[in-house]
Symmetry: C2
Subunit: 333 residues, 2 copies
């Protein structure tokens, strides 16, 4: 009884002190979305987060159900003049060429090695697949991870001269952090390769490997010199794009997101799936409108085409982020 | 400056008060593994957890990397006289029979509907697959979830008379909770269906849907009356067993577990994959030795065969839990 009384007094004192400390902290608080201009997009995000996190609010969502899913290419980092993973693959072909003398006479490699990217990609999906498999398969998962880590640490974008992980969007990094500070679990749901993203997204976005969903090639468990390895096979397992996104969300997470962000028609089904749940929902689209600081493109772009999803966003009142108008800053300083 | 000084004093006071409160709490602490008898298995678990969570210990593992994976059938809940998901499927055939008059003359359904389970399963893998697809596919994910929820809430085991979610192992539930209290993220990695487990494992084990990995059938996103649904197709997507387990762990989690628990040869590769990482590791096997309180079986059992994995466990010094000797209690009270 004595101990209980003591603990009770302790916890009242604790509550009091914590209250004072929190109030003092509020004085010093800075805007968690500092790179966003004050406009409808920012206000919409803040209002949504307040609604789902305020106890007693009729839109309240328990923390465990605060699932937020984000496309990566064009939503969290840039994707022009082509997907960065494709640039990685093209550069890998060059790096691997000395071990593949037969590539000199074999398309799409021959064109590529002569510097003719357009010619190499003229073979369409089949050419692309050959390039991807030649550069993404045939090694263990550990070896591939190291290849990606080395590339992301050194390769530079031809136009900006920045490293690719410095072409992430600062306002989106702030949004991810803001959501997590409000009890959300933030996921990437990308058409990009799951093992191409995992080595660097932790540092770039604060997203751990188990919250990265993406396209996959098949892998195989086997013993090598008595040690188990997982090897990457030249065979597509799953393409995490369009209808694939809600399918993968259902498989990996097993809960429906309450917030989803994309930038292209490849994200439409994820946004529709998110919107169709009950209760408060937030659907966002990054619209690339800033030819000066980034790129301006939508319905006519071969990369990140935004056409149907933009129509649906406007018709249904989803939030369309106008990059030029809504973002104070594009990349991290 | 003034505010800063005040906050500093506050946080010192806060630390002091918290320290006292925690010390008081320790008085009242009970054994987190109360259903385990004191023996090598329990001591091994506690020693491992202390080693990886003690700051400054050379075996320290940061919380984000404390991944623990558990098989389900025979490791977290019982699996005799046959996998409970198979019992579910057989009972669903009976429930669905009125809508399928053709089943009366079609194997394996005909035998099954006459009560001849052995005859129905005589058709081997093909018969099993037909039963699974007839009962697990052809509906939306939401509909299937409801079917599983209803079944788990009402169906009873033929021998124990218990509901299936009351045939979970109390010592393992305590272990899961103990690990989470020590910063571990606990996962299920089961040969069972991912969507068969998700509806009830949260309540049974405290494991959220996004930490459930299992076998899957293909699914499809489609619009129905303008509303998106995900439907379940009668086609195997992935079998999460044997070599499939490390492959799925790599795909879903992207980190190697530091602790893994199984009970059969289907878990061997998961245990090998876990063991092959660097630093402190814990590999555990539940050995079914208790014919009185549960079942006793290993190398000769058609369900949950434990043969090669037991040899390897003994040879490599993995922890073998002897159910009869190590567990005070089997099921929850």
């Amino acid at each position: 009884m004595k101990l209980r009384g003591f603990r009770h007094r302790c916890s009242r004192l604790l509550a009091l002190v914590t209250g004072i400390a929190l109030a003092a902290h509020a004085f010093a608080q800075i805007d968690p979305l500092a790179s966003w201009n004050d406009g409808a997009a920012k206000q919409g995000i803040v209002a949504f987060v307040k609604a789902v996190t305020s106890k007693g609010s009729k839109s309240f969502v328990p923390p465990a159900e605060r699932i937020a899913t984000f496309d990566n290419d064009g939503t969290l980092w840039a994707e022009q003049p082509m997907y960065f993973q494709l640039i990685f693959a093209l550069e890998r072909v060059k790096a691997l060429a000395p071990g593949h003398p037969e590539w000199k006479d074999k398309e799409p490699f021959a064109s590529l090695l002569k510097g003719d990217v357009k010619g190499a990609l003229a073979g369409g999906e089949r050419a692309m697949l050959e390039i991807v498999m030649a550069t993404h398969a045939g090694m263990t998962t550990g070896q591939f991870e190291k290849i990606v880590r080395d590339w992301i640490a050194t390769a530079k974008h031809p136009k900006t001269g920045r490293r690719y992980n410095q072409m992430i969007y600062q306002p989106m990094v702030e949004l991810l952090r803001y959501l997590r500070a409000n009890g959300f679990k933030t996921y990437i749901v990308s058409g990009g390769g799951i093992e191409f993203m995992r080595p660097w997204v932790g540092r770039a976005y604060g997203i751990p490997p188990e919250q990265v969903i993406g396209s996959t090639i098949k892998t195989k468990f086997e013993m090598r010199d008595g040690k188990p390895v997982i090897t990457r096979l030249p065979e597509v397992d799953f393409i995490d794009d369009k209808e694939g996104k809600p399918v993968a969300i259902n498989k990996f997470i097993g809960r429906r997101p309450i917030l989803a962000f994309g930038n292209s028609d490849g994200d439409l089904q994820m946004l529709q799936w998110t919107a169709a749940g009950s209760g408060a929902r937030f659907m966002g689209i990054v619209h690339h409108t800033d030819a000066e600081r980034e790129w301006a493109y939508d319905s006519k772009s071969p990369v990140g085409r935004l056409d149907k999803a933009l129509d649906e966003a406007l018709a249904r009142g989803w939030t369309v982020v106008d990059m030029k108008r809504d973002w104070k800053q594009i990349y991290p300083k």
